[in-house]
Every structure is written in structure tokens, then in C-alpha cells.
């Protein structure tokens, strides 16, 4: 039978405080990037009222843009490559929204609910195979373009590839990715809460008609929101392409995690997506780190988020901060 002994936890987990702290930090690092991506999705939902099933594909494209730039132009500055990825995904998002989502907002589509679900699914299908045709199925990895300065302060040590806090190692690539994600998040929050355009986006998300009355064009805001959402996903992919190996279907898991986060945090809520991202990162990290069977722990990594997801949907679909669908 399949209930072999290794399923029953026989090992006494050597759980030290250091191990838990390490898991927490790793979870935080990845959680920040999750939060960035989920912010994009929640922005799209708050303004357009649709869940973009193609969000992961923007993430995937962002990564491939950086990979292509770094592979073909050896000395190209990495940050500029990330910026280029953001630009490309922004443009793709804007074009798709104008062509396929505007008609829905303008009432030209027969069954908008069904259309909304299926059209972004169609885009995801199209983009996956498009990139598969261009890049092939073999995994790609972008060369690292950032390394830590050598440093030794006793408690804090840095080699070129790892930062050591005491005995806790943190990968430089992930640190850099999290740092860029934090900067991008800060910029996005500033944009949303302190600029006129950001206020316009929030206005449309709160009440389309009222926003139109005061002179905001909801259709233009739709395009901006979708393009920005895609851009944020592309940014997340752009910073992670040096860390993970990249295939055309890398966006599927990213999409799934984004859904988990926005449902957990509340669809359409910005603080919800940030908090949800951090929570998911930490839960995944703790879950895999403390899983009774180390051999299968990694395989179950994605399951934790999905279980949270299913439970939230059944018990409290509005999530932590959300409003009704």
C-alpha cells in the first residue's frame, strides 16, 4: 500500500529559532515579489471588474524580454533591461485592452461575464504558444548582473552571491529582486495615492459613473489599469528571470498564486494584495520548510496557497479587505 512509513513523521524536526527566522525571511523576500504581481491583478480587477487570466503570461513575457536583452547585448545594464521589460508588457497590455476589452466596457459584447473569463484565457493561450514558437521549450536562465560587495562585519557577512545574517544565508539574486520589487511597489503606491492619475484610477474603481461626471474618462482609465497591471506582472518576471529558470508556461503557477493572493486579500483592495502576498510567501516558506516529509515538501509548495484559496472562497469569498464581486 502507498501509506509507506516515510509519510508518518518519524523524524524529530530539528527546528531551531534560526531555521524559523530563515524561513520567515525567505518567505518575506519572495512574498514582496508576489505582492507586486498581485497588485497588478487587483488593480485590473478594481477598475475593469474582471480577473485577468493572462496575468501570468505578462510575468512570463517580462522575464523573456530581460533574458533576450541580456543574452544579445552583453554589456547592457540590467536595470535598463528590467525597464524595457516593463515597457514591453505595458504596451502589450494596452493594445490587448483596446482591441478586446474596450468592446466589453462599451456594451458591444453579448454575454460580458462569459466573455470576460474566456477572452483573457484566450490571450493566455495565445501568448504561451507565441512565446513557445519564438523561444522553444527548453528552459532559459538569464545571466546574473548584480552581485554583492564583499564584506565581513562579523554578524553581517557578504560574499558575491550570498548575504549572511549570522548563520542565515540569503541569496543575492532574491535580495536584489525583492529590492527592486519594493522600489516598484513604493513607486506604485505613490502613484496611486499621491498623483492625479492615481486618484483618477481609484475614482473609476469606486464609482464609474461618478468619475465620468467629474470628467474622468473611464475607458481610458480601463486601458491604463490593464496596461499597468500587465506592467507590474512583467516587472515581477523581469526581476525573477535571473533567479528561476524560465519556460513559456512559467506564468501558469504565477497566475495561480496571484489569484490566491487577491482572493485572500480581497479582490480590488491594494493593501489586501500587499498583505496577501506577504502572507502567501511566508506560508509557502514555512509550509515547505516544516513539512514532515522533506522528499515531497517542494512538490507540495504550490498546494498550500491553493488550499488557502479554496478555503477562502468557500468561507469568506470577499477576503480580508475586499468588497463584493
Amino acid at each position: 500500500m502507498w501509506l509507506a512509513p516515510e509519510v508518518v513523521p518519524t523524524l524529530v524536526l530539528q527546528v531551531s529559532a534560526t531555521y524559523i527566522v530563515r524561513l520567515l525571511l525567505e518567505g518575506l523576500l519572495i512574498g514582496v515579489i508576489y505582492a507586486l504581481m498581485a497588485l497588478g491583478l487587483t488593480l485590473i480587477f478594481s477598475v475593469l471588474n474582471i480577473v485577468s487570466f493572462a496575468h501570468g503570461e505578462f510575468y512570463m513575457i517580462g522575464g523573456y524580454v530581460v533574458f533576450l536583452i541580456l543574452r544579445n547585448w552583453k554589456g547592457f545594464p540590467g536595470l535598463l533591461a528590467i525597464f524595457a521589460a516593463a515597457l514591453v508588457t505595458f504596451v502589450i497590455g494596452a493594445i490587448f485592452e483596446r482591441l478586446f476589452l474596450q468592446p466589453m466596457a462599451q456594451g458591444k459584447v453579448d454575454r460580458p461575464n462569459e466573455y470576460a473569463i474566456l477572452i483573457t484565457f484566450g490571450l493566455s493561450f495565445f501568448l504561451q504558444f507565441f512565446v513557445l514558437g519564438l523561444m522553444g521549450p527548453f528552459p532559459k536562465k538569464a545571466p546574473r548582473f548584480w552581485s554583492l560587495p564583499e564584506l565581513d562585519l562579523g554578524f553581517l557577512r557578504m560574499t558575491r552571491t550570498t548575504l549572511f545574517l549570522g548563520r542565515i544565508p540569503l541569496s543575492a539574486g532574491r535580495l536584489f529582486a525583492a529590492l527592486i520589487a519594493l522600489i516598484a511597489l513604493a513607486a506604485m503606491l505613490y502613484f496611486m495615492y499621491r498623483t492625479w492619475t492615481g486618484w483618477a484610477l481609484q475614482a473609476v474603481s469606486q464609482d464609474r459613473n461618478a468619475a465620468a461626471v467629474v470628467g474622468i474618462n473611464p475607458l481610458n482609465m480601463n486601458t491604463l489599469a490593464f496596461a499597468l497591471g500587465g506592467m507590474l506582472a512583467g516587472l515581477a518576471g523581469a526581476v525573477l528571470v535571473t533567479v528561476f529558470s524560465w519556460v513559456p508556461w512559467v506564468g501558469i503557477t504565477a497566475s495561480a498564486k496571484s489569484f490566491v493572493i487577491i482572493v485572500l486579500g480581497g479582490m480590488g483592495s491594494i493593501p489586501g494584495s500587499l498583505l496577501g502576498g506577504i502572507i502567501l510567501g511566508v506560508v509557502e516558506s514555512l509550509g515547505t520548510g516544516l513539512f514532515p516529509d522533506p522528499a515531497r515538501a517542494q512538490a507540495y509548495r504550490d498546494v498550500f496557497g491553493l488550499i488557502i484559496f479554496a478555503l477562502v472562497l468557500l468561507v469568506k469569498p470577499t477576503g480580508l479587505f475586499g468588497r463584493e464581486l
Binding site: 502507498w2 459584447v109 473569463i117 493561450f125 507565441f130 491553493l306 484559496f309
Partner: protein
Amino acid sequence: MTFRRIYILWGLTGLFLLGLVFYPLIVDLQPYWLLVGFSALFYAILASSWSLLAGYTGQFSFAHMAFMGLGAYTSGILVRDLGWAPWMSTVAGVLLAGVVGMIIGYLCLRLRATYLALFTIAFAEIFRLVVKAEVNFTGGPNGLEMPPYTIPEGVNRVMRAIFPFWDAHQYVPSYYIMALFFFLSLFVMFLLVRSRYGLFFRAVREDEEAAAALGVHVVNTRVLAFVVSSMIAALAGILFHHFIGLIVPDEMQIGRMSLVIAMAVIGGSQNLIGAAIGAIFIHFSLEWLQQIPLPVPVLEQLLFLENWGFNIDLQAGVLRTNAWRMVGFGLLLMLTLRFWQNGLISPIIEWLARKEAVEEVAKRFQAERAMDAVDNVAEITEPVEATNPSETAS
């Protein structure tokens, strides 16, 4: 006998059924095309059962492939661990899928469109990941062996009498069993849809509260849709995989689900037959598009495409499209959704089947009104003798 448009539809249906029965002869018993036909029917069953759930009842579930896999894995595990005959495990797999479909149907009752889609995606992914991870139970990423059916000798003899080529290749019996199941499942779903339950499905899709106000048992209707579609999907999956010999967890990934959905949408998500025909048509098209035969001079002009993911085989004189045929398919999906939301095939079927009746009734009504008008005119042009107004009123 006046020519009625519906005769075209009957003729096409007859042609299709003939094609279904004689397909192995049409393709000259080539194993490759037998397999393609077999797979096309598999996808047709999946597409039409999905359209029952999504198009007719409005529940856009992405768990369809998970039910297919659930049935197949159950059947395979029962054969492997409990030594059941494949026929018995097939029944068990279908029943289990029906029960799980019922549970999912109940869980989804409170969930509206997008939330339902998300929840079923979550369920499908959890199922796939667990199956992939539990190597000891399910064989993990390498898959589970599915032993073939043993067809009783009596059946074999009867079949050989009807189809002398029954033993020509192992794919021939599998094709016919799948074709039989295709016909039966479409027939059952068609009857269901034409009955009161079909009306209930569509009522629930359009407006649940209005349906409930009119006495439709919304809960039962929604759950019934889930149960029927999941059982049919499971049976299709079980039959397909017992003949193929192997099932892997990656067949249940969302990419495969999108393919089935795309087929159903292009065929017509609100029409069972449209979805099935669409799936068959698309599956064959994708196979044909794998290699495009072109004259060698043209191919030599197209050699630059090798950098873009194509493959050119000058000796065989073909252009291999690789992933690009799927890109075209994806584009077709998006355009169909945008401009022909009812699909490409089902409007044709509906035009052939339905409009005739409306036009006939309209013609008859107009003819009667014309006859009445003539009477009135006769009364008016002749010298009016009867002054009683009630006589001139019609």
C-alpha cells in the same frame, strides 16, 4: 415536395454518421489517422460535456480535465491494487467522478461566475499537484499504467462479421468503442437538453431568481449539470486512457483545459453538437497543420523561418509548423470570442434547423392576412347593400 432547409441538416447528419462508421476504411487503416480519429472523438466528448455545464447552465468550470483524470486514475489504481477487471473499474471510476462532481457542484452553489472559475481552477490544480507528488500511490510525474480492456470473444466474432478489418490493428476496436460512446453520450446529452431539464439549465443560466420564482429547483439543476458532465468526462477519460495505456498528471494541467474550452467555444459553447463538431474539426485541422506540404522552390524561399521556430524539411517537401499552429488557433479563439461569440459551427446548425419553421409560420400568417384583406376589398368595391356594421367587420 418542397425543399426545406432542414433536409440539408438531416443529410449532413447522415453523412457524418456514415463517416463515423466507415472512418477506418476512409483512412485506409493507417494507425496514425486511426489514433487521430480516436483522439478527436475523445476531445469532442469532452468539449460537448463541458458545453453542457458551461454553455447551457452557465457554470464555467475549469475542473473538467480534473474529472477526466480522476476517473482514469481511479480506474487504473483499482486495476493495479485490487485486481479488478478494467470494465468494473471503469464503472467505479465513473461513479466516483459523479460523486465528486456532486460535491463540487454543491460547493460551487454560492459562487458566481468568476469565483466559480477560480475555485474550479484551484481544485483542478490541487488535484493535479497531489497526484504528481504522491509517487507511491499514483506513479507521480511518470504516470500510471492503464491496462487494456479484454474484449470478450463473442463480441469479437460479431464485430469481425460486421467489420472484416476488426483485427487489422489494435486501434480499430478502440476507435469503434470510442465512436459508440461518442454517439451514446451525445445522444443522452441531447435528450437531456431537449427535455425539461434542458429548459431548467438554460433558465438557471439566464436568471436564477426568475427561474426559482417559476418553480425551477435551482440547486438540483446546477448540481445535476455538474454530475452529468463530470461522469461523461470521466468515462471518456477512462476509455481513452485504457486504450492508450498510460495516464500522466500533466494531462490535467490548465493548458489542456484551455484547449478543450477553445474547441467548445469555437464550435459553439451553447450548442452540444456544435461543440462536438468544432472539437473534431479543430483536432483534425491541428493535425493537418502540423506539416504543410509546399513545393521545394517555395520552401527554399522560406528557410529564414527556421530561426523563428519552424522546421523545413526539403527532402519531404514540408513546412513543419511546430507551435505556430497553436498560435493561429489561439488567435482564432480570440477573434471568435470577439466577433462570433456563439461560435463558428453552431450558428450554421441553428440556421439550418430552426429559422425555417419561423419563416414558414410567418409566411402562412401573411398568406391568411392577405386572404382576409381580399375579402375586405371585395366588400368595399361592391355597392354596399348591408348597412349593418357588424357584417363588414371581420
